[in-house]
């Protein structure tokens, strides 16, 4: 067991820089999820931890030891790949045992570990099958088994669930979570799926264009996004954004279009251009706060919730509200809603940073 320290980690391919310095200390036994859209460098970062990509700048340390120049096999890590990367010509048993065999482990010990891992993952009856005779979920489990038997310091997951269908994905997500609770092995998990990230991670690293935009526990990231990017990326339906200017006294915002919203904290000098964000579920009926009138364009009843798309009177652009499923609204109606002052997220227009 060991932690992983990333210190100013950079990566560039020739002139093109893809990762611009990531700092993060992953604690012993922690489950950290790297989340971001495609091409943000999250897989590259993971592959640098694995030793499959060279490190252009900065340091990566596993268990306190800098591993920049250490071969993947000597880093004591195990990786689960998106396409599983099982050896097609080896049985499930041999796939799991291969790494141990190379390390010259005694046959009895290999057998014991493979049997244990197969027990945990319920693969016992499949040990003599070939990968092509398995379903996607089973292959996924074998790939995890191959990682478990090594008893590594760190597990690395590279979008391991993307090739599974939706139902299986939910099931495997729970299994990975259970597995981590049981083994308590430090894990780094890369995904573009925010539900996976929120449910699995002790902490998230939200990446965008090679920069770690925010690092923190899932609910903190959801509740206090540090940048406009994080605010828009986390949460579905996405956060609503309106452009505006800070009003007199600095504790209110004039939305383009005329509406004025009160904020609960100082937003800087009057006239500063800001982006105002609020989550769809924070537009509610009744209660204290700013009055907002929403002209309904479209309704999506989801059962438990109803998504209402429309435009705000005195504001520009589309806004989405998530109201309880019991609400009955029709297109063209105007809904009187309120938005609490402490639910407003204010971001500087130019830097995109939270105010």
């Amino acid at each position: 067991m060991a932690g992983v320290d990333l210190r100013g980690v950079r990566k560039s391919y020739g002139e093109t820089a893809v990762i611009h310095g990531v700092d993060c200390a992953v604690g012993d036994g922690e489950f950290v999820v790297i989340l971001g859209p495609s091409g943000c460098g999250k897989s590259t970062l993971l592959r640098m931890v694995a030793g499959l990509e060279t490190i252009t700048g900065g340091e990566i340390a596993i268990a306190g030891k800098v591993v920049n120049q250490v071969e993947p096999k000597d880093r004591n890590i195990a990786m689960v790949f998106q396409n599983y990367a099982l050896y097609p010509h080896m049985s499930v048993r041999d796939n799991m045992a291969y790494g141990l065999k190379i390390r010259g482990m005694a046959r009895a010990e290999i057998d014991r570990r493979v049997r244990d891992a197969a027990g945990i993952l319920e693969l016992g009856h499949l040990l003599d099958r070939l990968p092509r005779q398995l379903s996607g979920g089973q292959r996924q489990r074998v790939a995890m088994g191959r990682a478990i038997v090594r008893e590594p310091d760190v597990f690395l997951f590279d979008e391991p669930l993307s090739n599974l269908d939706a139902k299986l994905r939910v099931q495997m997500r729970l299994e990975i979570r259970k597995l981590h609770q049981r083994l308590r092995t430090t894990s780094i998990y890369v995904t573009h799926d925010q539900v996976e990230a929120m449910t699995l991670g002790d902490r998230l690293i939200v990446m965008n264009a090679g920069i770690a935009e925010q690092i923190g526990p899932p609910l903190e990231i959801y509740g206090r996004p540090e940048t406009v990017f994080v605010a828009g990326f986390i949460g579905a339906p996405a956060m609503n954004f309106l452009a505006g200017r800070v009003g007199q006294g600095g504790k209110s915002v004039h939305i383009e279009g005329g509406l004025e919203l009160a904020a609960d904290h100082q937003a800087g000098a009057a006239g500063r251009t800001v982006t105002v964000g609020f989550r769809p579920e924070d537009l509610v009926r009744g209660g204290p706060g700013n009055a907002v009138r929403l002209r309904v364009d479209l309704i999506e009843p989801l059962g438990a919730d109803t998504l209402v798309h429309g435009s705000i009177e005195g504001g520009q652009g589309q806004v989405t509200a998530r109201l309880p499923g019991t609400q009955r609204l029709a297109a063209g109606e105007v809904a009187a809603l309120t938005l609490a002052a402490d639910k407003l997220h204010l971001f500087d227009k130019d830097s995109g940073k939270r105010i």
Partner: protein, 283 residues
């Protein structure tokens, strides 16, 4: 699809039967000729029914040889020579080209693509084109009349290298990465993972290259003067070229028949793997 067109069916079958007859008839004539004595073979028309001299011919051809008037050693020895040559060429080609393909696909070294193209360009230089310089080299190395001389100049193969390269490119990179994390070094990865995955390609290539080696005519003809290194294909040609006597067609035909057997065996034995190797890439 259900189709009922009797005339079409008739023509389809007629064409196929005609094709079979055209291919099979010469083989049949060869087989029949090998069962007659020489006297019968010199009469017209060519016999189409089996005679009773097959075993006698077989013993003559395989063991005693055709006598001083015939310019060829016993067929048995020539078959053995051909077998050695074909197997050495096929295995040598596979061994060399799989290794060079491995180097070209998986290792980064200076002038990698230059080497690839150099190998590729040799596709344009078959033995027949480079026969004089190659002969000079082999002669200077003292390899005339030896198995080395018969096989080594034919072993380098751009075709096989190219085929293996294409196959390796289809193997997912993650497999290599998984093996690296598992602790397999380059040779371990090659032996434990790449070789088993290439099994069908190897089988397909073996069949092709075995037949290529077996059918070599010009090169053995040039390189051997010692009868004990004659191969069957050139031997048959020599058996026909007799001076001051009639060719012993019954024995020539039997030798031709025997020459067909090993390639057929190789194809039959490896057919399943061969077809698999050409049509599917197992991943």
């Amino acid at each position: 699809m259900v189709e009922r067109r009797p005339i079409l069916t008739f023509f389809a079958h007629a064409t196929l039967i005609l094709g079979v007859v055209m291919v099979a008839l010469p083989v049949y004539v060869t087989l029949i000729a090998s069962t007659h004595d020489q006297a019968r073979m010199l009469q017209a028309p060519v016999p189409l029914l089996p005679g009773d001299h097959f075993l006698e011919n077989l013993v003559t051809v395989l063991i005693t040889g055709l006598g001083a008037s015939q310019a060829a050693p016993p067929v048995g020895m020539m078959l053995l020579n051909s077998l050695v040559m074909a197997v050495t060429i096929a295995t040598g080609k596979i061994a060399i080209s799989i290794l060079s393909a491995y180097a070209i696909v998986y290792f980064r070294f200076p002038l990698r693509m230059t080497f690839f193209w150099m190998i590729f360009i040799t596709l344009m230089l078959p033995v027949e084109v480079r026969i004089l310089p190659t002969f000079k080299v082999v002669a200077d190395l003292g390899m005339l009349n030896s198995y080395a001389g018969l096989t080594v100049p034919l072993i380098a193969s751009a075709t096989a290298t190219f085929l293996f390269r294409q196959f390796f490119l289809t193997v997912p990179d993650e497999l290599l990465e998984a093996a690296r994390i598992d602790g397999a070094g380059p040779m371990r990865f090659f032996v434990d993972i790449l070789l088993p995955l290439s099994r069908t390609s190897i089988a397909a290539l073996f069949v092709i290259q075995f037949i290529y080696g077996w059918n070599q005519y010009l090169w053995p003809l040039v390189i051997t003067t010692d009868e004990s290194f004659y191969t069957i294909v050139m031997g048959i040609a020599r058996m026909v070229n007799v001076v001051d006597a009639a060719a012993r067609w019954n024995q020539v035909m039997l030798a031709a028949l025997l020459a067909m057997v090993p390639p057929v065996i190789v194809v039959v034995v490896m057919q399943r793997q061969f077809v698999k190797g050409l049509v599917e890439t197992e991943k």
